[in-house]
Symmetry: C2
Subunit: 260 residues, 2 copies
């Protein structure tokens, strides 16, 4: 008898989940000052009404297929997802050298970085299908650093999640501004985040009494969520399937808490 109920539930849930979704994606132009930026929006068009939303900040490459795939995954989970464009329309580095140079402009100019990500957040919040009280920001590598700076700016977001982001900041005292809950998903052997930087970050968060969770994933180096990063840890950046899956689950648990 129990088994019959169970099968009926599975049938109904399968029915519900296949019936509905219509994931729409579109490029969206918006401005920061006089600069034109081009973000990427994904949402389930079959879903009615306002809903929680997630800002997604790209790696040092700028918006690419990986960024878009994450937005689509989030849309399938019921969120409005919007990939911020930090660099500007058409600025999509094609090599590590170009990416490093472009990311460097913003790492060396944190006020500009904060303005760029704030413009994306404002763009997302004004969407008619977004519940502006339930917005999170997530980011990868450079984007992880960016969402932490968004939090330090005092932005009104429910939570931020950094995946293998750099944890340093020129303005550690700004942690006092943080209103968001913070989740940091970190590769335990990421050579791009020196121990002093990590220790400094944890001290910064503790001193400012920020509501944070820090998770270190074993055997994970930089870029551990991105299959494009290959599988050679000795390069300092590589995909790690277990850390990818676990950190995505941790993010879901975090969202369940901050959006309830």
């Amino acid at each position: 008898m129990k088994k019959h109920y169970f099968l009926l539930i599975l049938f109904l849930m399968a029915h519900l989940s296949t019936q509905a979704q219509q994931i729409k994606t579109q490029l969206v132009e918006y401005k920061e000052g006089t600069t034109t930026l081009e973000g990427f929006m994904a949402y389930d068009a079959s879903k009615k009404g306002k809903r929680p939303a997630v800002l997604v900040v790209h790696e040092w490459t700028g918006i690419n297929d990986y960024t878009k795939k994450r937005c689509e995954q989030l849309a399938q989970m019921g969120y409005v997802a919007f990939a911020a464009d930090i660099y500007g329309k058409g600025i999509r580095p094609q090599s590590s050298q170009q990416a490093g140079a472009e990311a460097g402009k913003y790492k060396n100019n944190v006020p500009l970085l904060r303005s760029r990500v704030a413009a994306a957040l404002a763009q997302l919040k004004k969407q008619p299908n977004v519940d502006a009280s339930k917005v999170a920001a997530i980011g990868y590598c450079f984007g992880g650093t960016t969402v932490l700076e968004l939090a330090r700016s005092g932005a009104d977001v429910a939570g931020v999640v950094s995946f293998h982001g750099g944890l340093g900041t020129p303005n550690p005292a700004d942690a006092a501004n943080i209103k968001a809950k913070v989740l940091v998903a970190h590769g335990a052997v990421d050579p791009f985040v020196p121990k002093a930087e990590l220790d400094g970050f944890l001290k910064e968060m503790n001193d400012a009494n920020v509501d944070y969770q820090f998770i270190a994933y074993s055997n994970a180096v930089h870029s551990f969520t991105n299959p494009e990063a290959g599988n050679d840890n000795s390069k300092g950046a590589a995909y790690n399937a277990a850390a990818d899956r676990r950190s995505w689950e941790a993010m879901k648990q975090f969202f369940a808490e901050i959006f309830k």
Copy 2:
């Protein structure tokens, strides 16, 4: 229409979950060498067949109501839960001084500690309702230290979870024996785990290439999962509701992975 399906699912799920459970608890005598130990077993007697199991290792107080409550929670989740008795039948410290003295005996005699926890694990694994290939061990404070030593002994367990456990060991090289996946839920400002001990633990795990996850919870000190610990962080041990809830969820996610 969708809403009707949804309500029907909720109704059926509620029906399933209330229909069934019969949580049974019992004291269980077992031996380590010539010493008699008395553990505490909890399981759902309405559930048929073998199932995953969780060994629970007590704080420095020995088995108490808190330990039993955790076992009952795990039984409600469908596991066979068994509280190990490290100290021996009738040895239940009634003061911090007594607890410290008792815990010290085992911290200073890690071979004995490992034998005691191994005896409890064997007792659990031989239960007819336990799937011996799906057993985890969790522990609190002293018990966290204990389940890490269980892992370092090379025990055949799918995973171990330490909640605010001490992370030091006299035998860091034994990390090479670890077969279990490891989850460490740590209070970010726990004064009972010095930074050198934490750094040493992470290095130990990294050097031995252990599959681990380390989570630090902000504003959490020692005993953060135990409501009995009060709410004064300045005492070094205190309850933290957010860290308790989050670490329990992290454990569930960990179990979902290791028991699948």
